[in-house]
Amino acid sequence: MMLPWIILIPFIGGLLCWQADRWGDKAPRWIALITMSLVLLITLVLWLDGDYHLPTLTVDSGAVRWAIEWRRAWIPRFGIDVHLALDGLSLVLIALTGFLGTLAVVCSWKEISHRVGFFHLNLLWILGGVIGVFLAIDLFLFFFFWEMMLVPMYFLIALWGHSGSEGRTRIRAAIKFFIYTQASGLLMLVSILGLVFAHHAATGVYSFSYGDLLNTRLSPELAFWLMMGFFIAFAVKLPVVPLHGWLPDAHAQAPTAGSVDLAGILLKTAAYGMLRFALPLFPDASALFAPVAMALGLVGIVYGAILACGQQDIKRLIAYTSISHMGVVLIGIYSGSALALQGVVLLMVAHAFSAAGLFIISGQVYERLYTRDMNRMGGLWGRLGSLPGFSLFFVAASLGMPGTANFAGEFMILFGTFPVAPVTVMIATTGMVLAAIYSLLLMQRVYYGPTRGEVRLGGLDTREFVMMMVVLVLVLLFGLYPQPLLDVTGATMDEIQKLFSVALSHAPATLLTGVVQ
């Protein structure tokens, strides 16, 4: 009974925020804060109470077990249920959503000054939709939430975003974001339906349930095309390089809270989708596709890093680093090694923290300088109180400095992938070098160099300081002792790995030629 409430609380809280607007600006902020804290609290209680060491997918028996499950009939005509379930992986990501949601509310405390209630309505509905994505294991319901969360995100960017230079207005960015993600989502819908009808043809029963569809027999060709539908939808959101066009604009033009949510959680829904659906539903086709996916990941790493080096806009720079980091995640997902999959979870969490930290910092710099153009910064060290110090930390985390969670994650992915694809890993490592370059460029151009004014700008107030400190502590904590995280998700990732490695072992060239023909 807990699961539907985790989804409903943000939706209800959002409506309350909207209505609370009439009592001034404070009320919606507090309601939003309480709502998200409640979500975070519930997930933490679930984390402490539950046992997540059960294997969820069992290859042998074919049955699916979950730590917590909730199921009600919804549209019996097509066998669609409201089917929610929780395992270690979704728990971690929901906890992350709760935490970053709270952070997003706090960091927009001063930034958003008009239409506060409606802003928080949209913010909370995005979070509700994301939680829905992480909990839904009925494919129809999953798609429902997947598409639904785009609408409030669209409003967030279009109404509270910043317009950049000529031709890069926030509305353009919002529309681009929406069309990219919605259109690719429809491809996924086609794939879902294809899978359901294949299941129907085999068994005579309509079902959108994950457990039922898991063992659908598909011809290799059909499986490949259906897998592509899922992959493209997730690849747009992750983003994978040829499909990344929306991301820099959306990130740069979104308000801080929007960027935090985008980088922190929305991108993770794509990785989650690959781990939860694309791989287990189509293990053979995915195994076949793995080399291509890893190559795409590689392109992403290098492309994102190189473009990051050339950016003038601080938020666009961070956006391109996200592309680079998600390339590493993609390689990890398709490597099929247990260690790398564990690393994927760790890197996802770590990247959520470090990207959120960097976006919040760029928001705070913007609130003080009213620009995000790095050409107009410089010499800020010493003029912003402790802000540059935090920047240095998060930049170091983002480039994967040992001691931070990012390092642990990247290391595990690369180390785990090496036996499978040594060349890939060797090229991917160059991404780390490029990461050092863009990180140093960022520090150098914003904080060092000649100053452009002697006026001492405002330092961090308590709200900002506490916010940054909490994120910093978490990055260090998971960097030095990631075991609790790995324990919770271990069982889930093991099962995915087993499924996938079985497929990898018998996915030789014969299958490949079958598809090519």
Binding site: R115, F144, M148, Y154, I175, F178, I179, Q182, A183, L186
Partner: protein
């Protein structure tokens, strides 16, 4: 065959509508009282709607000209509900109209009766009669505010092009008659059999052209934007909802009953029409700066999607068409309802330019929310009824493995998003110094406002919990 009491019973809705029309006419002749006339019309429509229960009880009855099966009941209910909504909206709209107001209801009642005859027809004669009875009053309704040049233009344009389409339709019927010697649909399909000759094919093709014009399928859509833009709000609402539903249902019946419409060539023609319609409608909507024109093109695209349901004529077909028609109807009524309310009471041209809608959310939050929900539903976003419709269409395309059609639907939806979003974001942007047209302050408490709010609520409820709708459509349309 003589007319028995049962036949008369089955005709109750039509009889009630005509009785109401006569009452309204006599009422107007005696004393012009807008509120009373409107109330009488709404009362008559409600009675007709209630009498549908009676028709449902005795479904399966056929007369030589009409058939009262599930499809008839389904379509009649949709037409009556749409007419009711239009009548309610018309009341608010016509309050400010300086000329005679009451005749509008007369025309609308006649058109609704025509729609019901059309959807119940099983004979080409009754089909033609119904279609003309539906169209004739529409010319008057579209040109009702004839002192406004655009409205007059809309009416005349529709009249002229409609006459051309009718000629196509009649010629097509003549060819079918020449080939088979029959005019009733059952006889036609018997006489023509599967071996459809060139004349029969040509006849069926011409009938499709005639009906395609009324449905504004591309390339017969050229009248749509001008008529939508120029005609007064309630008339466009009726044209976009009741009239199109009725014509679509008759096309549906033709494809279902007469095998000549199921011939491979016509099938391909219909599939091609569907694809062209989807793409043309969506692409042309991109460049519109007038909400009514935009909705016009969007309706072109939507009938393209609907045509897909007819092209793929298999098990899921009637359910798909039914569900999509229902979701389209309530969504369209909601969207045009907001346009009409914003232009009410009448004061010259309707408020339909996009800049009239800028910042609407901060002036009339609920009205803007209704329009947002309607647009989201037209775009097929989850949590709205439109998504369920689109889900059905795509499901059907995937099940039949018609990948080209599925591709066209996806491409069309992606293009469609762009213009729906453009309108939507305008609702929330504040631009000072804009010329403002606004709904009256108490719009939410008046009948028209309540109808629109109810429709938006229905769109959301059916989007979240569509089971009852699906069950109902299955029960009524496919009879299972």
């Amino acid at each position: 065959m003589t007319l028995t009491t049962t036949h008369l019973m089955a005709l109750t809705p039509v009889i009630l509508l005509f009785a109401t029309a006569v009452t309204v006419m006599l009422g107007i002749a005696w004393r012009r009282q807008h509120a009373v006339i409107a109330t009488v019309s709404v009362l008559g429509l409600n009675l007709a709607l209630l009498s549908m229960a009676l028709v449902w009880q005795m479904r399966g009855i056929e007369s030589p000209l009409l058939v009262f099966d599930g499809l008839t009941v389904f379509a009649s209910i949709l037409i009556l509900v749409a007419t009711l909504a239009c009548a309610t909206l018309a009341h608010a709209f016509l309050e400010g109209y300086p000329g005679p107001r009451e005749e509008f209801y007369l025309l609308m009642l006649c058109a609704a009766a025509g729609g019901i005859v059309l959807v119940a027809s099983r004979h080409l004669a009754s089909l033609f009669f119904g279609l003309e009875l539906l169209s004739m009053p529409l010319y008057g309704m579209l040109a009702y505010t004839f002192r406004d040049r655009l409205s007059l233009e809309a009416g005349i344009k529709y009249l002229l092009l409609s006459a051309g389409a009718t000629a196509f339709l009649l010629f097509g019927m003549a060819l079918l008659y020449a080939e088979s010697g029959r005019l009733d649909l059952a006889g036609l399909s018997l006489a023509l059999g599967d071996s459809s000759g060139a004349w029969a094919l040509a006849g069926a093709g011409l009938i499709i052209v005639g009906l395609g014009f009324k449905l504004s399928l591309a390339p017969f859509h050229l009248w749509t934007p001008d008529v939508y833009e120029g005609a007064p709000g309630p008339a466009v609402t009726f044209l976009a909802s009741a009239s199109k539903v009725a014509v679509f249902v008759v096309l549906w019946r033709l494809v279902m009953v007469a095998p000549v419409f199921d011939a491979a060539i016509l099938h391909n023609v219909l599939a091609g029409l569907a694809m062209v319609t989807i793409l043309v409608g969506n692409l042309l909507a991109l460049v519109q700066t007038n909400l009514k024109r935009l909705l016009g093109y969007s309706s072109v695209a939507h009938f393209g999607y609907l045509l897909v349901a007819l092209v793929i004529n298999d098990g899921l077909s009637s359910e798909t068409a039914g569900v999509y028609l229902l979701t389209y109807l309530i969504t369209t009524l909601g969207a045009f309802g907001v346009v009409t309310l914003l232009s009410s009471p009448y004061s010259g041209q309707d408020a339909s330019a996009l800049h009239h809608y800028r910042g609407l959310f901060w002036r009339r939050p609920y009205l803007a929310a209704v329009l947002t929900v309607s647009l989201l539903s037209l775009a097929g976003i989850p949590f709205t009824a439109g998504f369920i419709g689109k889900f059905y269409i795509i499901a059907q395309g995937v099940e039949a493995s018609r990948w080209w059609l599925v591709g066209a639907i996806i491409l069309g939806s992606a293009i469609g998003l762009y213009y729906y979003l453009r309108v939507m974001v305008a609702l929330y942007l504040v631009e000072p110094g804009m010329r403002r047209r606004d709904a009256t302050n108490d719009w939410g408490l008046r009948a028209g406002g309540l109808v629109v709010l109810g429709l938006a609520l229905l769109v959301i409820v059916l989007g979240i919990y569509p089971s009852p709708m699906i069950e109902w459509v299955k029960l009524v349309v496919s009879g299972s």
